[in-house]
Amino acid sequence: MLEARAAGFAKRSLKNDAKLAAIDLAIRCIDLTTLEGRDSPGRIRSLCAKAVSPAPGAPQVAAVCVYPNLVAVAKDALAGTEVKVASVATAFPSGLSSLEVKLRDTEAALDSGADEIDMVIDRGAFLAGDEATVFAEIAAVKKLCGTVHLKAILETGELGSYDATRRASDLALAAGADVIKTSTGKIGTSATPATALVMAEAIRDFERRTGERRGLKVAGGVRNTKAAIGYLVLLDETLGSAWLSPDLFRIGASALLDDLLMQREKLATGRYGSLDYIAKD
């Protein structure tokens, strides 16, 4: 039933003005991401330029997402703009280092000026049944973050079932994560509508219980505009229109931005563009 419901969201039809508004919203919700071993300051500067100005007339993205070592370069490149710098931390992507190391990793990113932290939960501990450790680690990182927004990556592709995703979501929200995030993007399975739906349900029930609104980030596997709009529909029909904002929703992506820009161009001019006309950054 979950998968059937999730599959239905991408079938809703948005056209013309509504579609343009949705595309612009999707762009404004992107965390433009580069997490490669070969990332260099030059690469980061190029990414940040695209983040600020994806195409003439297009809105800015919400944030860039980079490794801790490159936070300072990103901050510098984005100075004076509204685009935030999110940093992965806590021994991303595996999370299999000591808590001490993971906290130092987080601190380094914060000291460099990160506006947001994307941490990974300890999946090994979770699957071994040690939820107390998973909870404690998230709480410790949040304490370090203070008012800096913390995203907790559940790595749903490793958890094994939708039930486990729901359990991990509830845990992360209770431990203080501001946003729960699907994936690191580093393993085969990333965000899917069904896992996003499970997580959205957890967020909805959390609000019902506590009155607090937490966010959702889908990362990896969101390949095109249709999929992105499908997630917006999922949010609207599950959580309500308050979540249709970069404050509560993010898409971790890189190539998606290009497809959104092409669709944007199609709506504006009536003709499909080509990737040749879109700057590669």
């Binding site: 039933m1 979950l2 059937a4 419901r5 079938k11 809703r12 039809s13 948005l14 056209k15 013309n16 509504a18 579609k19 508004a21 949705a22 919203l25 039930d163 349900e201 917006l232 529909v233 609207d236 029909e237 229109s241 249709l244």
Partner: protein
């Protein structure tokens, strides 16, 4: 901002003739008295076409044509040859699926996404499935290596799944070597007539499938016709009883697939959001015009308020509107008569003291529509809990224990289907075994497959459609030692 969905209309053009004749003996023939009647689009109230009224003479001709084809062509045909026709029809259904879906939606009112993704898909699947059985009938019934067909089958199908029910009737009948006279429902003749065209184009020998359109009198003429060896009926329990009475004392074989008042049972340990999806699908799919609809929700008392709250929120996202719009979740009610019947039962629910909840959407300015509705504060004795509403109206009641749920679920003269929602496997098995229903869905609902037998107990009818069991009514087995 909120997301504003735009209409996404299915625009595949479908040619609808001004007038349709019957399809008898491989030819298109008008009614013997030349009369026709209108079939309308319930979403727009506009006339789609004029369709021939089936008279006694028309039925006579059709049965004679079916008999002729049976004796001289079909029963003696090599089974593998019969199968080829069925595969050809199945293939045509797939190739013309969009056209069939649009026609089904226009004539009956169901959302295009259902006719496209469910009705036509399943109809083709039934033909593919039974085509495969045509040359393997010696394995269909244990101990019987050479089963014979029954003869001429009179099939009467309803308006809720017009094409699909026609497929459910025709495919197994033909696979077993029978010939068919099909009487589609009065308000939804068009896809049956297109199916007849498909049979014609597939080169099906004349008289193997005949379609006689008309109303209740046409159906009655078919049921009492002495030249018919078997009646297959899907429709209301009320009419089913009339048919059974008329068949008594004759040698006609009979299968009936009638109404239901299925219980969807949700335990506190069910995954609630998914149970809600199952409940919503169970009662609002096809506007609730479903014999196996989960029209009663039995919810464990401890989670009643939570479930009602979630359900109320969820139905606000259901879109009622133009059935040809791909966004539409709930289409038009099939006819003004059915619309009035649902309205009457909604009133009775309120009058008897239940509390009505409905989604807050606007309804189209024309056409027959009802909002997704549910009642709380329902007791077993209320009409809305006992009578089949056949509309998007759910009756919610509580229970405390599994045994109480089973008792309440079985407390109905019907017995077609049921749903059980719990994460505990042992409980799922325990409850499923004790529910008196032909189909029990566990943590899901409305799952169908041509290989899976479907049918009910008691006043939901008898006989099964689908699977090996679905062949049985179309085969004639000599009486003898135990099978």
């Amino acid at each position: 901002m909120a997301l504003a969905y735009a209409p996404s209309l299915e625009t595949t053009p479908v040619r609808i003739a001004a007038v349709y004749d019957h399809f008898i003996g491989g030819r298109w023939v008008p009614s013997s008295d030349g009369r026709t009647f209108a079939t309308i689009n319930p979403a727009t109230e506009e006339e789609l076409a004029q369709v021939a009224v089936g008279t006694r003479e028309d039925i006579d001709r059709a049965v004679a044509a079916a008999r002729d084809a049976y004796e001289n062509v079909w029963r003696a045909m090599r089974p593998a040859e019969r199968a080829k026709y069925l595969y050809r029809i199945a293939r045509a259904l797939t190739e013309r699926s969009r056209e069939l879906a649009v026609l089904e939606t226009k004539d009956g009112g169901k959302p295009i996404k259902e006719s496209r993704d469910f009705d036509v898909v399943q109809a083709a699947a039934h033909f593919f499935y039974y085509a495969g059985w045509a040359d393997k009938l010696q394995y269909a019934i244990r101990g019987i290596t050479d089963p014979a067909p029954v003869g001429v089958v009179g099939s009467i199908v309803p308006w809720n799944f017009p094409l699909l029910m026609a497929a459910w009737k025709i495919a197994p009948a033909l696979a077993c070597g029978n010939t068919v006279v099909l009487k589609p429902a009065e308000t939804t003749p068009l896809t049956a007539l297109l199916l007849a065209q498909i049979c014609e184009e597939a080169g099906l020998p004349p008289g193997v499938v005949n379609v006689v359109t008309g109303d209740g009198t046409t159906g009655a003429a078919l049921v009492v016709h002495p030249g018919v060896d078997k009646i297959a009926f899907t429709g209301s329990t009320e009419v089913g009883k009339i048919i059974k009475k008329s068949a008594a004392g004759t040698r006609k074989h009979l299968t009936l697939e009638l109404g239901g008042k299925a219980a969807n049972i949700v335990f506190a340990d069910a995954p609630l959001d998914q149970a809600i999806e199952g409940v919503v699908n169970g009662i609002y799919f096809n506007q609730g015009h479903v014999c196996c609809a989960g029209s009663r929700l039995l919810v464990q008392e401890s989670i009643h308020d939570d479930v009602v709250e979630r359900l109320a929120e969820r139905i606000e996202t259901l879109r009622v509107g133009d059935p040809l719009d791909k966004n539409t979740d709930i289409g038009a009610i099939n006819s003004p008569a059915q619309h009035a019947k649902i309205a009457e039962l909604l009133e009775s629910g309120v009058a008897e003291g239940a509390v009505l909840h409905q989604q807050a959407c606007a309804l189209p300015g024309r056409g027959y529509f009802h909002r997704a509705s549910f009642f709380t504060g329902v007791s077993q004795s209320h009409r809305i809990a006992r009578e089949e509403i056949f509309g998007p109206v759910l009756a919610i009641m509580t229970f405390r224990t599994a045994d109480e749920a089973i008792e309440k679920a079985n407390n109905t003269p019907y017995g077609l289907s049921a749903g059980v929602w719990t994460d505990k496997g042992a409980k799922s098995m325990y409850v499923a075994q004790r529910l008196r229903a032909g189909v029990v869905w566990c943590s899901t609902f409305n799952q169908f497959d041509p290989s899976s037998p479907f049918g009910g107990y008691r006043e939901s009818g008898f006989g099964r459609e689908g699977g090996v069991a679905g062949l049985r009514p179309y085969l004639s087995v000599p009486a003898g030692p135990a099978e």
